[in-house]
Homo-oligomer: 332 residues x 2
DNA sequence: CTGAAAGCGCTTACAG
DNA sequence: CTGAAAGCGCTTACAG
């Protein structure tokens, strides 16, 4: 390419990077040659020379009963924002995330890592901490030291759901959380939300019946029937369980109940999820796309500032209720 | 690393690749040094030296009303199989897929491309054809020349759905396809299935009422009610529309109909999708995971055999019905 | 404002 | 069976 423009390789390189002043004449000839030859720098050679790949890795943990739509939202938030900032994304879905991180880190394939679906005790974390590349977490682990973290503020979400019910006059609520095995697998957000909801209900003098529902149908439908049967006087239902949220319309139809006349309902799921299942329930948005984007922004900042020293960021997004009309005052 | 093992760089390299015979003594010392230092070859340097990156690109087209669970199935099929074969996957979600392909191809970041959700006339195809790397398509385009293609055999699926109904004694069917804008956007599979279903119904002397339903609720629910109202004597329902499939349980409940007693139903969606929505309908599996895996296998074969000459593969997977008990003989 | 040269970390003919 | 050397295609001090 340089020879086509009639300049040296170094001059061509500088003309492209703009890292030193180039005469207009030369700049034009280089630009012309680039266009002519459809020249694009070789990524491997550039990576070798600069120790930068302009690629980040996104490490997923794809569990069989995880809700796919939410996962895809995170993924697209990450890949789209990364591209806007000049990075491509390596998507890693290996079972053994720790080994994958080690492999990719030490082969210098990427400039940084985003970890999806981070568990309370996540096997990938110790590997990430000793990796040379920076990282950002989607999901708050038990020990969040030394890496940036992005997550929904689940305790605040629990309080918000309870408050919303309280203000409308509800005094007896049912909370349906994810099943226990989700918690055991590292889904600490489940009890973070539930614990704070309980606390808040206690503060307000409300009754809160807390349950774990199954993660799939038809079991979760049966669960919902049982919970509703057990507490006929409850007027509000809080859902931190996507499967339960998707199953509820049928359950209510079967019982001849309408929402919000017979029961006020508030969930915790993404807009995307609501749209797809067409759920008529107000909900705390899980903001997957937004979280993905922010994680990438923080990561890129660390990469480009070589800024491994500056203090750790823990960003817990304030929950927001998206109103879909499923909350009303309880019947007299 | 070589110096730690007390051998030359070339010997170390050969010891690792196994490309020439190495004395046991040297091999052991190299292995030891590798372990000691946690040595992993630099990916960029290796790519530069070998012109191979061991990375493939997966180019998605993520459309707002596409069903996310199916997309994720394809993605995981590709990433998992790629890893098994020694490749990592760059996930590309840019709007302008043609430009992205061009950029990634000419910078030599990857060894090959998998195109997801290929449209009838796909803007990425001409770029792929002139790229130096091989490609594989998920989805059959109008002109499938010069690239390997993997898709469900949608015409066969249409015929299979009609046949299944016919054998049970049904003579009047309703088919609900995806909305027209999906077709316009390149979803030729929609009419491929519908056309063949119509042909088959004609051959068998059956009546087939063919409709396009909306791609979201609540519209698609209303659509279903209209179609069922219009043809009270129809005894079988064919669904090539995920949203309609998800909406049907509610629609039937509202109408006081049961399946398969009042209506036999057969859909076309992935197992994953059925599980998530807990759909009680027998369906032609869309085999997203399987298709993703096969595309990667074909791609890797082309990459590793340098086999750009051998004839194009068009693999249309034979549809299979997964029985969920929603098909029965019609009521007298 | 520009060029010649070194170097990034590998692989692989070429010699021995 | 092993080593010294060239080369992959860039970037960036170093000279001028």
């Amino acid at each position: 390419m340089a020879s086509a423009a009639g300049v040296s390789r170094s001059t061509a390189s500088y003309a492209l990077s703009g890292k030193r002043t180039i005469s207009p004449d030369v700049r034009a000839r280089v630009a012309e040659a680039v266009r002519e030859l459809g020249y694009t720098p070789n990524a491997g050679a550039r990576a070798l020379a600069t120790s930068r790949t302009s690629v980040i890795a996104l490490l997923g943990r794809f569990l069989p009963d995880e809700f796919a739509p939410a996962m895809l939202q995170y993924i697209l938030g990450v890949t789209n924002r990364a591209r806007e900032l000049g990075y491509d994304t390596l998507l890693v879905s290996e079972e053994d995330g720790g080994a994958a991180l080690q492999r990719i880190s030490s082969s210098r394939m990427v400039d940084g890592f985003v970890l999806l679906n981070v568990a309370e005790k996540d096997e990938r974390l110790p590997v990430l901490r000793s990796a040379r590349q920076p990282g950002a977490l989607l999901g708050l682990p038990g020990d969040p030291s030394s890496v940036d973290v992005f997550d929904l503020d689940f305790p605040a979400a629990g309080a918000l759901m309870v408050d919303a019910m309280y203000q409308l006059g509800h005094r007896e609520l049912i909370l349906v959380s994810q099943p226990l095995h989700v918690i055991e697998r590292g889904g600490a957000y489940v009890w973070r939300l539930a614990d704070r909801a309980r606390e808040r209900a206690d503060e307000l003098g409300m009754t809160l019946h807390s349950y774990n529902g199954a993660s799939g149908q038809p079991e979760v439908g049966d669960d919902l029937h049982r919970f509703l049967d057990a507490h006929p006087s409850a007027t509000g239902l809080l859902l931190n369980n996507e499967a339960a949220s998707a199953a509820l319309p049928n359950v209510l139809a079967t019982r001849g109940m309408t929402c919000p006349e017979d029961l006020s309902v508030i969930g915790r799921f993404s807009d995307e999820f609501a749209r797809m299942f067409s759920l008529p329930y107000s909900a705390v948005d899980s903001a997957a796309d937004e979280l993905g984007r922010r994680a990438v922004e923080a990561l890129v900042r660390r990469i480009e500032d070589g800024d491994s020293a500056s203090p750790i960021h823990i960003e817990l997004i304030t929950p927001v209720i998206h109103d879909r009309g499923s909350l009303a005052a309880p019947r007299k």
